[in-house]
């Protein structure tokens, strides 16, 4: 877990932005038509395999911004993660997970920040680095929204109404998904009008082991993810 936190967390520079589209509870009851909206949402989740997930993850005091392409059919994703660097700058890494393996392409600062030598970090510049299977799975877990979405499809999963919330689209129906103490919250927009912004199909909020995520989920049709070209992967010499 130390490794996971270190690699995930980057530099603890504190939150410098307000959470994007953070839902806030405003009513203890769901609005009219909530049952139909929930049915539609669950049907969409069941039918759809590709998604774009956008939002933030907070690891300790460090906020990361995410754009994740998800293919639930192949349990694959490609995540662009912007995170704080020492000195207040930010940089972006790309995490690729498919076929049970994880690769990360990151600027040298990321590897140095996580304890690698500068020479070694430079050798990885512009290349994917393959992780051993188990370590890669742990590293990828907080970004594995496909797994969360797949879990939402479970027919027996309990969706407990948790009131209405102000959210990106105005108002969202709020559900606690599952029975565990750290069960994620799902926000279902009551309207598909989002002004100039694209409306998410749902918003998810989760908190586990010191990592909290707040993300918007958009169904899409064009996610294609494969492992990186070997020419782009750092190789042993």
């Amino acid at each position: 877990m130390l490794l996971l936190t270190a690699l995930l967390g980057g530099c603890a520079s504190g939150h410098d932005q307000e959470p994007a589209a953070t839902p806030s509870a405003s009513s203890s009851v769901l609005g009219e038509g909530a049952s139909e909206r929930l049915l539609r949402t669950r049907a969409m989740l069941a039918d759809q395999s590709d998604f774009v997930v956008e939002g933030t993850i907070d690891v300790g005091n460090a906020r990361q911004e995410l754009n994740v392409q998800v293919d639930t059919d192949t349990a694959s994703f490609e995540a662009d993660v912007a995170m704080p660097a020492p000195g207040g700058d930010r940089f972006t890494i790309t995490m690729l997970r498919t076929r049970g393996m994880t690769w990360v392409k990151a600027p040298p600062e990321y590897w140095v920040m996580n304890g690698y030598t500068e020479a070694g970090a430079e050798s990885a510049a512009g290349r994917y680095v393959a992780f051993e299977v188990a370590a890669g799975e742990r590293l990828a877990e907080p970004y594995n929204f496909g797994r969360l979405i797949s879990r939402l499809r479970t027919p027996s999963l309990r969706y407990s109404p948790d009131g209405s919330s102000e959210c990106l689209t105005g108002t969202c129906d709020t559900y606690r998904v599952g029975r565990s103490d750290d069960a994620p919250l799902m926000y279902v927009p009551t309207s598909d009008e989002c002004g100039e912004e694209k409306c998410p199909a749902l918003i998810l909020e989760s908190r586990t082991e010191g990592i909290s995520a707040l993300v918007r989920v958009y169904p899409t049709d064009d996610v294609q993810i494969d492992y990186p070209d070997p020419e782009q992967v750092l190789q042993a010499r």
């Binding site: 690769w103 030598t117 750092l234």
Partner: protein, 174 residues
């Protein structure tokens, strides 16, 4: 070049370690008596492999594949595993050459599949930093071996009668 981490306690990243015994790409675990085999324990380190695809005819390519298999069987485990990707690529190239030389569309199609499967296994192995233990690689290798078994079975009589080459040891799990 390997990224060297300062903290030795964290050994997760940069998948270089080889901890699982890999299958030989061409099924070298057959009985030793079936065809000429080097005697003694496998002790060779890294080798310059033969390149079956440079042969000009089918018999030459098949002979090269057998020789490649024999070379691998002389290697110690570490060297054999470290050169697995190279062998996969050489088998793929050899299959590609057999596809060119094939006398029927069906035969060409079989060798084309072998080429594709071995190439994909080699690519994935390289992309994963040489890890041979992942489920995905094992599955790709299984697909490759299945494809080659089928192709070898089809050409075995020709290899024996025309080329006087035994390819039995190339066929896995017979």
């Amino acid at each position: 070049m390997r990224i060297v981490k300062r903290a030795s306690a964290v050994a997760a990243c940069i998948a270089i370690s080889v901890s699982v015994v890999a299958c030989s790409a061409s099924g070298s675990d057959g009985e030793a008596a079936r065809s000429p085999q080097p005697t003694g324990e496998a002790t060779a380190g890294n080798l310059d492999y033969v390149r079956p695809a440079v042969a000009k005819d089918t018999c030459g390519v098949l002979g090269g594949l057998v020789e490649l298999n024999e070379q691998a069987s002389t290697q110690d485990m570490e060297a054999s595993v470290s050169q697995l990707g190279e062998r996969l690529q050489l088998v793929a190239e050899g299959a590609g050459k057999l596809e060119e030389l094939a006398e029927s569309e069906e035969e060409a199609s079989q060798w084309s599949r072998v080429d594709a499967r071995y190439s994909e296994a080699a690519d994935f192995l390289a992309a994963s930093g040489g890890q041979v233990s992942g489920d995905a690689f094992v599955a790709l290798l299984g697909d490759a071996v299945a494809a080659s078994n089928e192709a070898y079975a089809g050409i075995e009589p020709y290899a024996q009668e025309v080329c006087n080459v035994s390819i039995e040891d190339l066929v896995a799990e017979r």
